[in-house]
Amino acid sequence: MTTRTETPTLTTITQTSATPTATTIPIDTVTAAAVLTTLTIDQTTDMILSVCDAIMGNKEYLTEIDSRIGDGDHGIGMSGGMEKAKAALESGRPFADINSIFKTTGMTMLNSMGGASGVIFGSMFLSGAKGLPPMTELNGPALAVIFRNALDAIKARGGARVGDKTMVDALEPAVIAMDAIVTLEGTDSSNLILLLSSAEKAALEGVENTKNYAAKFGRAKSLMERAIGYQDAGATSVAIIFSAMYRYVSELFFSLSSHEKVILE
């Protein structure tokens, strides 16, 4: 077993969030008035920084997953890219808008990592906010659109589809889950905790599903059906990213709630 630091391991994330849809959020802490629907520019920066920390903390774990069917460099690549992104975010803040946070993260990853993950994960952040009007706050619908754009860009560039044992297997279900929440909740009031818990759950299910697939891309491709039984490292990274965002908004919400002494039923 590898030692993992800083963030919960994926296993523990799975355990704590196997059922964390909206209904498992402690109902006694939620009131109709106290729902987290937007993040400020500063909070969004912190959220993406928490994503960087989560990936860096899972470097060994991702390496181990990748080395079963890939060449074992996914953890190193992702962690290195996120380390650079973290430095760029810290030196670049305060940002003028939400878009710049995603652009800075994506460009830094794209121009430092190399490898397939550099292009794919760099594009995920870079393409997400590309073409959107500058935003001074991040709400649920915007977050859903960012990752929908990211998914479309990645599929166009890499040519992967669900079932090919790639990060798309986690990203696409997460995007669909977010779209569903936005549709359900309406475009103005999406609960970010609900949105991201659903996305995380869908991404984790996607990771589980990659165990059933033969690889169509990357170095695991030559294993074909022999890759069945093993989860995809890129999809695992996607799940870690959504887990970190979910964790960030949850912790933010509960800390805000306690500061504001929201009285609950």
Binding site: D73, S117, R219
Partner: protein, 336 residues
């Protein structure tokens, strides 16, 4: 694992700086990037830019030189260089005649070099690419574009470099380079794993007495895992695969490379050639030229690969020109 490095996060920087300082007479780094140019490159021609993940030295860095590549884009360990790095490398050597990118056919390299071509396009630099897919054990012939690039890179770089130096237009350089690529096959054999510098675990696990035919440079699975055998049996199997793949027959003219994967000794590699020569002679092949060296490696990985380049008059002409780098030097081969 004992590894002669400082901290793993700085491995590429220190390795590259050491190399470029030692060979500063010939090479110059492109400021701010893990890439460099060959100072003595011929001007007013198509520029040849090669690259890929680091850790396979002397590929790719050892193949910039006279009659070879003009510049090299170096990635992190086993990971393709990024698009910006590749595009800056191309810009540094572009002479207005276009750039040919030459690299191994891996998902990461393809994605990054494609994006680099888009960046070049924005700056009106005409760029084309050839992906080397010589490893005939990595996928069946029907899926040739799924095959990986391994030691065959060496011969493709040699011929592409000569075609560029001949002053041909980009389209013609591209045609000849693709022809070289399509005339080359390689098959490998792994006896022990390599490692990623800084990681304690090997890139794959192979039993003490086990070997694997066709295993990739990064430990990608091959075509058969079996127990260790005498070299004559190993070479017989590998040559047989190549002969079948390439349809080799009497009087075919070939150039051959026996390539060590990192830790296999020259004594062993020479013995491989001893066996290989016997088979080629028996089949009546005309061996135009042969090389025995470790060019395309994976750290301390054990094993070797056999590469065969099938020559015709055109390819032979480009193969025969002189070239030089600190790792790959050939005299001009005259008319025989």
């Amino acid at each position: 694992m004992k590894k002669i490095i400082n901290h793993d996060s700085n491995v590429i920087e220190e390795m590259l700086t050491g190399y470029l300082k030692a060979y500063s007479r010939y090479y110059e780094r492109i400021e701010g990037f893990n890439s460099f140019v060959y100072k003595g490159r011929r001007k007013n021609k198509v520029s040849l830019v090669i690259g890929g993940g680091s850790g396979h030295e002397p590929l790719f860095g050892g193949f910039a030189g006279s009659g070879l590549a003009d510049a090299v884009a170096c990635g992190n360990i086993f990971a393709s260089p990024n698009p910006q790095l590749i595009a800056e490398t191309a810009k540094a050597v572009h002479e207005g005649k276009g750039v040919l990118f030459l690299y191994g056919n891996y998902a990461g390299d393809n994605l990054n070099f494609d994006m680099a071509e888009e960046l070049c396009d924005l700056e009106d630099i005409q760029a084309a690419h050839v992906r080397v897919w010589d490893d005939c054990a990595s996928a069946p012939k029907e899926r040739i574009q799924d095959r990986r690039g391994i030691a065959g890179d060496v011969f493709v770089i040699k011929i592409a470099g000569a075609a560029c130096d001949a002053g041909l237009e980009l389209a013609e350089v591209l045609r000849i380079t693709e022809k070289a690529r399509d005339s080359i096959n390689t098959i490998g054999l792994a006896t022990s794993p390599g490692s990623i510098p800084g990681l304690d675990k090997p890139t794959f696990v192979l039993g003490e007495d086990d070997i694997e035919f066709g295993m990739g440079l990064h430990g990608e699975p091959g075509i058969e895992r079996t127990t260790m055998k005498p070299v004559n049996e190993l070479v017989e199997r590998m040559y047989g695969e190549l002969r079948k793949e390439m349809g080799l027959k009497r009087a075919d003219e070939v150039a051959v490379l026996v390539n060590g994967l990192g830790s296999t000794t020259l004594l062993e590699l020479n013995t491989v050639y001893y066996e290989l020569d016997h088979h080629m002679h028996t089949d009546g092949l005309k061996v135009h030229d042969a090389e025995i060296k470790s060019y395309c490696t994976c750290q301390e990985m054990g094993g070797f690969s056999i590469t065969i380049l099938k020559l015709d008059d055109e390819l032979r002409a480009y193969y025969d020109t002189a070239c030089w780098s600190p790792y790959y030097a050939r005299e001009e081969i005259g008319q025989q």
